[in-house]
Symmetry: C2
Subunit: 241 residues, 2 copies
């Protein structure tokens, strides 16, 4: 009970009304996923099925199903017969992560330049507007998730479901790292992401594949570089000279 310290009285989930059959798992899954990705549930913290069941006012069965799904996405880990916990962020695997992330930035932006339709552009611009608003409002959590949504929309315009789903998974994992990043920087806004997004949109609209590729690469590498700076800075703080 010492760990997790999950406050359950503050959130709005306590009002249990008649739920539609089959909607429970999605509810639990979505909420838990968001809480994990927003670091409201700390990596490594324990997850108790009966506690969740009580919190959501349902039996353990649908809770369990949601957890199985999250395990499938790597957001949760289970020790057989023993414990269930939020997956830790794999710092050692970060180079590999960034490698994959940058590649997917490139590939999806490139494909979007090739295959987008007018409707795709409308959706992409909507996402960009949401991201822009979040930046203006200095809402870090919203910034992070709308940023992911923006790139997810780009990927969708690329018309490759395999890349899109893989990219979504990477972006999800990235939300946790970015959250860590902004947390330590006191929720200050990111330097030039909004402008870079605009450039990407322009390249996609112009169907300029080379430019889209290049911008995707630069955008990705810029994020990588910033996170890298964070980590080295944190190292210094930890060593505490």
């Amino acid at each position: 009970m010492s760990t997790s310290g999950a406050r359950m009285t503050d959130n709005d989930t306590s009002q249990i009304t008649e739920r539609k059959r089959g909607s429970g798992v999605k509810l639990v899954y979505d909420l838990l996923r968001d809480e994990i990705l927003d670091l409201k549930l700390a990596p490594g913290s324990a997850i108790d099925e009966v506690q969740l069941a009580a919190r959501f006012g349902m039996s353990r069965t649908p809770i369990r199903e949601a957890l199985v799904r999250l395990v499938g996405e790597g957001l949760i880990e289970t020790l057989p017969n023993r414990s269930t916990m939020v997956s830790n962020i794999d710092f050692l695997g970060m180079p590999a992560y960034f490698d994959a992330l940058v590649l997917m930035y490139r590939v999806t932006t490139r494909l979007a330049a090739q295959h987008h339709t007018v409707n795709d552009l409308i959706i992409i611009r909507e996402r960009q507007a949401e991201f822009s608003a979040a930046v203006a409002g200095q809402d870090a959590l919203e910034m992070i998730s709308t940023n992911a949504d923006f790139h997810s929309a780009i990927a969708a315009a690329g018309r490759n479901a395999y890349y899109a789903s893989f990219f979504d998974r990477l972006l999800g994992e990235g939300r946790r790292m970015l959250r860590l990043y902004y947390q330590s920087y006191d929720d200050r806004l990111p330097p030039r992401y909004v402008d870079e997004h605009e450039e990407i949109i322009a390249a996609v609209e112009a169907r300029d594949v080379a430019a889209a590729d290049q911008l995707g690469k630069a955008h990705g590498e810029q994020i990588v570089e910033q996170i890298g700076r964070l980590l080295t800075r944190n190292d210094r703080l930890d060593i505490d000279l």
Copy 2:
């Protein structure tokens, strides 16, 4: 290598021996996955939880959990409140699939050339030996799954878990298409895959990144080309002039 150990030689009639707690889901998951990927369960065919429960001699709960996992991998689809069925092979999405597959062939082979250890090579050679044996024995199913295992081992040597898991998923989906391919060709053996694998191993061992990239690309494109031939040929048959 597919299913090792206890394979039910008799259909359905499972003498239920005392099962270890928690082993049930994995059993069901592994077996169902293999049956789906080997096309023993036809795409689009219905899946009945009760029937499976009876077949495996266990309650619906663990069955359900295995199904949820398979849904997560896209191998099974569920219509809410109604039916569960094996996912259809998405022929329209095949260009996208091949695009992703070739890219992953390239990336994983390239990374393997960079990061492999001596131990990786041993494992890779084991997989290649198994594949070679399957080809020699003209066992199509074994050929397909050992081929996937070979490339999975290459990916593992690349030390990028994100690429590896994505690649594994693609290879899984590919097993179904390949199975379709060999089925229609009467289980004849593939032309030069064994040799190409040897070339890949040599390039990886020599840490020749450029060659590894090139070979991965060629290997992937060769498969794509063959499947393409199959499809056009099938189209002709379907039209039946």
